[in-house]
């Protein structure tokens, strides 16, 4: 076993150990065992960082990959299949290494932060236990080498999310939110599960690599539509977990959980798992599936951004912003900007975690006030929070010199390239929605910064009943300091400040790339190159059978997955196969990357990569304009007050309400699926009790009737017949016994009589 595998197993199991210790013994440990959680997570991060260092920094090999597995279930010699084993295993490649470091770092920082934020909570120890099982499950997703185990960990993060959203389960809103989150995720999961089933039914394996190899070899016997369906269904898992339209409704409600949880699970890691998963299966997605993914991502990014602009709850704004940013990542994968999407996943994780922890610091300092309308002027009181929050906001809005700028720009460049390569038309909707959402992002974040940190404190403006409500909703938090006046707001302690600073520092461009304008020059996008598809876009084009493209892809796959060609040999090979495959494609598309990004034998991927590269500068210009527009708008409305936001809202009231009420999705689902299910369940239950059981009882009653009837029949007819028979023989016996005299003479007479009777009979027969 490779030493990195051993370390990764330790990384996986350490948080589980933390969970086990804390769930059973937290009340017996000093400080409720928080040091166990923080310490173990620190060690986990150290080990993960070692893996990251060895894999990404030292080896610096884009096709690095090691794997290990063991037999989990042995089915023996299965008829029709042969020996069948279900294996579990670990795979470490560059993506895994980066994700490990990212997840454990944020988890560690959130653990540390929680020692301040959650202090005094009656279930303080349990909180750290739950964080432990979450981290374990999340690392399981990252390390999985097969679909079955990723599904297991997928649902386990769902469980952790359920437990943590409902951490304050006494609140009905929290209990509702946790149930909603679990069920919405389950809906996505059944899709994902069906996708897994499609692939398993073909290849009898869950292992990514084996599935890809089989696909590349063209062993998929079902129709092309099933393969597309498999991709879309697997993507449904991401729709649930990454809160994509139409299953996004759970994520904003999940903000009922403690704020550190929102940062760790519902912003940085778990919700990004959907994107990570789509990246893992990226190579088997057909063109049609990718189109679906791209549109879902674009719609999500746009819709969530429009909702975020009118929300008043500081965490809800961030929640919708998270949905929107996840939409960007999904969009990025859909358009084939694989590296960019994953780049955005990582940059977003850091700056969004920073924003949530910052909002947590604000909420903590404001004594559990979450409504931005009653904040303001916090800049002076909380300078550290202000500085880090602002830096992270700039990254989210996508201003140059930040990490978010680079990654978002790369996605948008990919989107333009995709639309160009696909021949335009409706595909331009995707980059359009992307850029428009970028503007909205800049606007709502500008609004948030202004409302929270600038101006004067508006605490006194809060209506009394609303204040009461605020207390009630968040009162179960175990703090006794609600009565303090708000001018008692002060900066948070070091254990909450340090995570903010670290996360804000990771939002600066220099961490990822020397060129602030081009993420592709940085280490990240070099280390995470876009892999070559194994299903081939040629399948979408009529004349070329899937087989030839698949064959080529297979050849490449055998060399390296993810396949990247930089050596002269591979280049030559690429050109060779490309010329076989491509007839109608533009010749320039066939894989002459100018030392910039990967090259593809697949003509569609090659074309998109080429177009995206060309669109890079255009994307920078447009997105910068959009960001400036958005920020200017925010300044105009909230700083210079040229436009009164309230009056504007009244002027466009239907639009405002549409946004404020989150496009009415909750109401729509409530009226259709939830009501529908309850009605169906009531109807079926009635049917069960009255019709099915009615028939049973009816049959019972009928049997009783028949029983009584046969009883009567038995008594009078059957028994009567028996009695009659007895009576008959009795009587006839009494008569006949008189003949049995025992005297021979009588018998002789009788015999004679009989003979005479016989003769008479005989002669009458003769006559007639």
């Amino acid at each position: 076993m490779h030493s990195l595998i051993q370390i990764s197993i330790a990384v996986l199991l350490l948080p589980l150990l933390s969970f086990v210790i804390l769930i059973f013994f937290n009340k017996r440990l000093p400080r409720r065992g928080d040091f166990v959680g923080v310490g173990i997570l620190g060690a986990t991060f150290a080990l993960s960082f070692y893996i990251f260092w060895s894999v990404v920094v030292q080896s610096y090999d884009p096709s690095f990959r090691i794997a290990w597995d063991f037999t989990w279930i042995d089915f023996g010699n299965v008829p029709g299949v042969g020996p069948l084993q279900i294996k579990m295993g670990i795979v470490i490649d560059n993506l895994t290494a980066i994700m490990l470091a990212m997840v454990t770092l944020i988890s560690f920082l959130v653990h540390l932060y929680s020692t301040g934020y959650m202090a005094g909570d009656p279930r303080y120890g349990r909180f750290f236990a739950y964080l432990g099982i979450f981290t374990f499950s999340m690392l399981g997703i990252v390390l999985s080498d097969n679909l079955f185990s990723i599904y297991i960990f997928w649902e386990l993060v769902g469980l952790s999310s359920y437990l943590l959203i409902g951490f304050y389960f006494e609140k009905d809103t929290a209990a509702d939110a946790q149930k909603k989150a679990f069920l919405a995720n389950r809906v996505g999961d059944i899709g994902m599960w069906l996708g897994i089933l499609i692939l398993y039914s073909q290849f009898h394996t869950f292992n990514y690599q084996e599935i890809f190899q089989n696909l590349a070899d063209g062993k998929f016997d079902m129709s092309e539509a099933w393969l597309t369906a498999a991709g879309i269904l697997l993507f449904m898992g991401c729709v649930g977990k990454s809160a994509q339209f139409p299953l996004h409704v759970w994520l904003p409600d999940a903000m009922e959980g403690p704020t550190p949880v929102s940062a760790l699970i519902h912003a940085a890691t778990m919700v990004a798992a959907g994107v990570y998963f789509v990246a893992r299966i990226f190579v088997l997605l057909t063109v049609d599936a990718l189109h679906v993914i791209a549109f879902i991502g674009a719609i999500t990014a746009f819709m969530a951004a429009t909702i975020a602009i009118t929300q008043n709850d500081i965490k809800r704004v961030l929640a919708y912003s998270t949905v929107s940013q996840l939409g960007y990542m999904v969009l990025g994968l859909g358009v084939g900007a694989y590296s960019a999407a994953l780049f955005h996943l990582v940059t977003h994780a850091f700056f969004k975690a920073c924003l949530f922890l910052g909002s947590g610091a604000i909420i903590h300092a404001m004594h559990h006030e979450q409504d931005m309308r009653w904040m303001g002027g916090l800049r002076k009181h909380m300078p550290w929070t202000f500085a880090t929050f602002t830096l992270a906001t700039l990254a989210l809005a996508g201003l140059p010199l930040t990490s978010g700028f680079m990654s978002k720009d790369a996605i948008l460049a990919g989107a333009i390239g995709f639309a160009n390569a696909e021949g335009g038309g409706i595909y331009y909707i995707i980059p359009f929605l992307g850029f428009f959402s970028a503007m909205l992002t800049a606007f709502y974040m500008g609004r948030q910064i202004w409302l929270v940190f600038f101006g004067e404190s508006r605490t006194h403006l809060k209506p009394a009943d609303d204040h009461h409500h605020g207390h009630d909703a968040h009162g179960s938090h175990g703090h006794d300091d609600h009565h303090e006046e708000v001018h008692g707001v002060h900066e948070v302690a070091w254990n909450m400040r340090a995570p903010l600073v670290i996360l804000a520092a990771l939002s600066i461009f220099a961490v990822y790339s020397p060129d602030p304008l081009d993420g592709a020059k940085g280490w990240f996008m070099k280390m995470i190159p876009t892999p070559e598809t194994v299903v081939g876009s040629a399948s979408g084009k009529a004349e070329h059978g899937t087989s030839s493209a698949n064959h080529n892809a297979a050849h490449l796959l055998a060399e390296a997955v993810p396949a990247v060609g930089h050596s002269a040999e591979t280049d030559a090979h690429h050109e060779g196969v490309a010329s076989e495959v491509i007839h109608e494609e533009d010749s320039h598309a066939a894989g002459h990357g100018d030392g910039h990004g990967p090259e593809f034998s697949d003509p569609r991927q090659a074309a998109i990569a080429h177009e995206a590269h060309d669109a890079h500068k255009l994307a920078i210009v447009i997105s910068s304009v959009m960001v400036v527009l958005g920020i200017s708008l925010a300044l105009i409305v909230y700083v210079f007050r040229f436009v009164d936001p309230d009056r504007t809202a009244r002027a466009i009231r239907p639009l405002y309400l549409f946004s404020f009420n989150k496009w009415y999705w909750d109401e729509i689902y409530q009226a259709t699926f939830i009501k529908g299910s309850i009605v169906i369940s009531k109807v079926l239950s009635w049917f069960d009790a009255n019709v099915v059981d009615g028939i049973v009882n009816g049959a019972g009653a009928l049997t009783r009737r028949v029983g009584f009837a046969t009883g009567g029949f038995d008594k009078y007819v059957v028994d009567g017949a028996v009695n009659f028979t007895a009576f008959f023989f009795n009587t006839s016996g009494a008569v006949l016994k008189k003949l049995q005299t025992g005297k021979v003479q009588t018998y002789v007479v009788l015999l004679m009589l009989a003979v005479i009777v016989y003769f008479i009979y005989y002669f009458t027969q003769l006559i007639y």
């Binding site: 649902e155 386990l156 009531k682 239950s685 049973v696």
Partner: protein, 545 residues
């Protein structure tokens, strides 16, 4: 060994017969000891079991040795019927991969049921005698390899069950007991006819006589070609299959023959519900796997789609009905119907993944449902009500109970990491891989969502939030400022007491362990299932013709 494990409870019952009925504690302890000895024997059998041997049919040469294990075989009833030939009934026991898991499950659930029976005060002596009789009958059913002997044990179960529900049950117990009794009897009458028909159609290859041996019956070459249920008698074989299937389906219980189950559960005392859901229901699907399908493989192959559809109806219909229930126990009863649907679906897949999933689901459903009913019993003992709306916020006041409930509930909704998930997963894997049941599997996954819906909803209504205004308990604020709750006339410990923990913790450990590493149980069944799939496969049948 098998005789011992089957008849130990009856021996305990005879001992109890000699104990005066005032000595309640001795009666309980004797029963518990017998049940624990049964568990020990089950472990010994498990240890001595060679998982490589296939079972299902005889080994090459027609003898069961080398295929089945722990065989005990004696002539039992031999009658010369003149021109009808002779009647040879054997005392024939043995285990293979199908039955060994069920033997382990039965021993485990019986022991837990005894613990759960501890608080019963009404006619303790009679109760435990009947309980032990039931225990013997169940175990006997799983290890009998002679159809007649199986039938005897099968019928023997009815009697104690009838009285256990009818005497120790709830207010409407007599209705429930008679419904259970008649329903099951209805199914078994036809089984008797089929059994006799089979007897005259099958020849034991070793002795050349007619036989009730299920081992001989499982090989189609042992059938007389022109007999009533021989290969040429297509129509009668269909009739026999359907009749047997209905007989077993009633036990499962399969829609539309399921309505006895919610009534029986609602009325039955907790331990009887545990036995009923934990073991008895499995006899239905076990009977299908042991008798119904391998004896009529060609009819089975022709019925796959129908069986799959019926399984899917069970899954979804059961889940919807569970969603509507107000009585917690009724909800759990409908969840049983839903979960047994997965077994039917897995069987309809007719491949190894599906059938292993089905058999594993039988085991897991046994342990998980036992937990569910025990947990329902815990709250019913305290509150004397099971109305879901009469609670609220229990997680704050009974944290240990809430934790165990959470484990059981999540196990039931198929959370990965807990055993129920693996069995359901492989049922789906199998059902989707088989083309006949592919679309049925696609529809049935809805059961995963609705299963989660009714379980999480009940969890929320009972355990989360705050106390409801009309809750079945009072809220008191102690001197330390902490809130406590108080049930009327409940003198015991508020949270789980030791006896309850002793019942629940082993089950929880099993559920978690088998969810992480299923091979200790799954490994027992794979070679038998592979053999069963082979016996049932159309390829083998065409080779015969």
């Amino acid at each position: 060994m098998l005789s011992l494990i089957v008849f130990l409870p009856i021996i305990a019952g005879l001992v109890i017969l000699a104990v005066p009925s005032s000595q309640k504690q001795i009666i309980r302890i004797v029963s518990l000891l017998a049940a624990l000895a049964q568990c020990v024997l089950a472990v010994l059998i498990w240890q001595g079991y060679d998982a490589a041997l296939p079972g299902i049919t005889a080994a090459a040469g027609g003898a069961p040795e080398g295929s089945f294990q722990f065989i005990e075989r004696l002539p039992w009833i031999s009658l010369d019927l003149g021109s009808f030939g002779s009647l040879n009934i054997e005392y024939f026991l043995g285990v293979d991969g199908l039955s060994i898991t069920m033997v382990i499950l039965t021993a485990l659930i019986s022991a837990i049921g005894i613990l759960s029976s501890w608080p019963i005060q009404k006619q303790v002596k009679g109760y435990f005698i009947l309980y032990n009789l039931l225990s013997t009958a169940m175990m006997g059913c799983f290890v009998a390899l002679d159809f007649f002997l199986f039938y005897v044990f099968w019928e023997l179960m009815l009697l104690p069950m009838y009285f256990l529900i009818g005497i120790w049950g709830g207010p409407n117990r007599e209705y429930a007991a008679i419904k259970f009794f008649l329903y099951t009897l209805f199914g078994s009458v036809f089984m008797l006819l089929v059994m006799i028909g089979l007897y005259f159609s099958v020849i034991d290859p070793v002795t050349g006589n007619h036989t009730f041996s299920l081992v001989a019956m499982a090989s189609q070459e042992n059938y007389i070609k022109d007999a009533i249920l021989g290969p040429d008698s297509v129509m009668w074989r269909y009739v026999a299959f359907i009749v047997l299937f209905i007989g077993f389906a009633i036990k499962v219980p399969m829609f539309p023959f399921h309505t006895w189950l919610p009534d029986a559960h609602v009325e039955a005392p907790t331990p009887i519900s545990v036995i009923l859901a934990g073991v008895l229901l499995k006899l239905g699907t076990y009977g299908m796997m042991r008798i119904n399908f391998p004896l009529f493989p060609e009819v089975f192959q022709a019925s796959l789609f129908v069986i799959g559809v019926l399984g899917a109806i069970n899954i979804i219909y059961g889940a919807f009905c569970a969603l509507a229930q107000q009585d917690l126990k009724k909800m759990v009863a409908y969840s049983s119907i839903s979960h047994m649907g997965y077994v039917l679906l897995g069987l309809a897949a007719a491949n190894s993944e599906g059938m292993v999933g089905a058999l594993y689901q039988m085991f897991n459903h046994g342990t998980i449902t036992a937990m569910l009913f025990l947990l329902v019993g815990v709250i019913y003992d305290r509150a004397h009500t099971r109305q879901i709306d009469k609670f609220g916020g229990l997680a704050s006041y009974m944290p240990v109970y809430a934790a165990v409930v959470t484990i059981a509930w999540f196990a039931s909704l198929g959370l990965p990491g807990l055993s129920g998930f693996i069995s359901e997963a492989f049922v789906f894997v199998g059902a989707f891989s088989a083309e006949t049941t592919r679309y049925i599997a696609i529809v049935s996954v809805l059961g995963i969502v609705f299963g989660a819906a009714y379980l999480l909803w009940s969890l929320q209504r009972m355990f989360l939030g705050k106390r409801k205004p009309d809750a079945a308990y009072d809220l008191e604020v102690g001197p330390d400022g902490h809130e406590h709750i108080h049930f009327h006339d409940w003198k015991g410990k508020l949270d789980l007491d030791t006896r309850e923990l002793v019942m629940l913790v082993p089950l929880a450990v099993i559920v978690i362990f088998l969810g992480i590493y299923p091979m200790p149980v799954m490994g027992l069944m794979t070679s038998s299932i592979n053999k069963l799939v082979e016996v049932l496969s159309p390829v083998v049948m065409t080779a015969l013709n």
